[in-house]
Amino acid sequence: MTLDLVIFLISSVVAVFGATMMITQRNPIASVLFMILSLLAQAVLYIQLGALFMGAVLVIVYAGAILVLFLFVIMLLNLRGRESLGQPSPPISLTVKYALAVLFVLELIMVVKSSFSSDVFADAGNPGVMVMQTDNFGAVNDVAVLLFQRYLYPFELTSILLLVAIVGAVILAQRSRDDDGPVDAASSGESEGKAAE
């Protein structure tokens, strides 16, 4: 049993444990913290593959930025696991759920199986297929070439999509503020007025 295998086993068990605990916890704070744990273990797996950059980016973007905002919002909403389970789902939606779950598992099996067949690796010229590079996989330079040269157009489109989401969120927040009347201090109102101009 090599050291690599020991580290791989520990981190993969922690990753699966964190993901399972995340969906089974009633307390939303605990869910977010378990998700951070799972992401950390996944970052270790990336680093073991030699993709140091991917591991670091996973930690910075998810654990550092997105999940901190999640925690922030959940704490502000003050959900303390007190809310009831709600009405049981009607049987039709339950069947739809199970059908979708089975479909998803089948899809997962097919993707995993196809990624191990040699045909995919042979078709390196096809832009729709993920190409596995063994020697420099996940290095900063490689990721940059893929993002800013080969897939520049879809990458920029994604950023515009995110911008649309941000603008939408700002508009939604502003409308709800008008309904409630003036809420905040003068300073924030003034700054928003400037931004609107």
Binding site: T2, L3, D4, F8, I29, A30, L33, I36, A43, I47, Q48, L49, G50, L52, F53, G55, A56, V57, V59, I60, A63, G64, A65, L67, V68, L69, L71, F72, M75, L76, A139, V140, A185, S187, S188, S191
Partner: protein, 354 residues
């Protein structure tokens, strides 16, 4: 499977230990485990001593700025005052609030403490004195320091106290806002070095004081100023210490912590201050480069200089209000750092740098 840590540079002392262990016939992977455990213990010990020293130094500087003497009773000018404080904190009763969130309350100081020490994997204390020269060095430090904010949020939430929660909230809002100008100022240096590795960044500044990035006019000094402002905020130090503003929040996120758990937050705060100063030295002041003296002395001396700057900030500036803090980051620092990146990229493209 590739294991990148195996290619790390070892300290000269530990290459000796490595050979010694190898002669006993220990198998290769466990050899690495033993050597890295020793390395971790060494780094941990040195940093704990440094943190104890920094606490004493901060108290003395604060006292002299306020025309007091500060600690004077234990030894010459109270030099072992903080050791006595640590012993006292170890013996204190561990008071736990009955309404706390048990697991989160317990793990918050642990996460804070570990996150503070993780950064030292890639910080070179001198020529060859680095645990592992990762090719993503500076990015790795950015990644592991984000856990500090998660630990502060955990502490605020787990305490089940409205002041603690508010402190955790403020800390999250502050760190998320100031991370943007901090990373953007670091990017200016990374742009010129063309590498994220800490050793490469230091070696790019070899050959005299004028090769340090602080003297690369005009973007070098600007990047340093924006970095040190953002780093002060990241380390939660005054004038950006609103997460633990005494007048408003009692003691902020650590109000319910006592004894050793409080000491862990406290030590982590000083280790973080040392980390951001060390990064400033590596990025802008040539790291270990210097004449005559050994490289680790230069590195420590320069880093203590930056720590002194942070301490002078702390005891001479008043604390910012929450809204001022946010406006300063988003309306001043972020535009300035982005403009600075564009200027630096232009210089690099035109080949005007020297």
């Amino acid at each position: 499977m590739i294991w990148p840590i195996a290619s790390a540079e070892l300290l000269p002392l530990f290459s000796y230990l490595y050979e010694l262990l190898e002669s006993t016939g220990l198998p290769q992977p466990w050899l690495a485990v033993v050597v890295y455990t020793f390395l971790a213990a060494l780094v941990f010990g040195v940093l704990s001593l440094l943190a104890l020293f920094l606490v004493w130094w901060e108290r003395k500087i604060a006292a002299h700025i306020q025309q007091r003497f500060g600690p004077m009773r234990h030894g010459w000018h109270g030099w072992y005052q903080t050791i006595m404080d640590a012993v006292k904190l170890l013996q204190k009763e561990d008071i736990r609030v009955a309404t706390r969130d048990k697991t989160v309350f317990f793990w918050a100081p642990v996460v804070c403490f570990v996150a503070a020490f993780l950064a030292y994997v890639t910080i070179p204390f001198g020529e060859g004195l680095i645990v592992a020269d990762l090719n993503i060095g500076i990015l790795y430090i950015m990644a592991v320091t984000t856990f500090t904010v998660i630990s502060l949020l955990m502490a605020g939430w787990g305490s089940n106290n409205k002041y603690a929660l508010l402190g955790g909230m403020r800390s999250a809002a502050q760190v998320v806002s100031y991370e943007v100008p901090m990373v953007a100022s670091i990017l200016v240096v990374v742009l010129f070095v063309g590498s994220l590795s800490m050793v490469d960044i230091v070696q790019a500044q070899a050959g005299g004081i004028w090769n340090w990035y602080i003297f690369r006019l005009p973007y070098g000094p600007i990047a340093f100023c924006t970095y040190i402002i953002a780093a002060t905020a990241e380390a939660n130090r005054t004038p950006f210490d609103i997460p633990e503003a005494e007048q408003e929040l009692v003691a902020g996120f650590n109000v319910e912590y006592s004894g050793m758990k409080f000491a862990m937050f406290f030590l982590a705060e000083f280790v973080n201050a040392f980390t951001v100063s060390a990064i400033a030295v590596i990025l802008f002041f040539g790291g270990w480069h210097g004449a005559l003296l050994p490289s680790w002395m230069w590195f420590l001396g320069k880093t203590f200089g930056i720590v002194l700057l942070l301490m002078l900030f702390r005891w001479t500036y008043p604390r910012l209000r929450v809204d001022q803090l946010m406006e300063f980051s988003w309306k001043f620092l972020v535009p300035v750092t982005f403009a600075n990146i564009i200027i630096a990229a232009w210089f690099k493209y035109a080949g005007w740098y020297w």
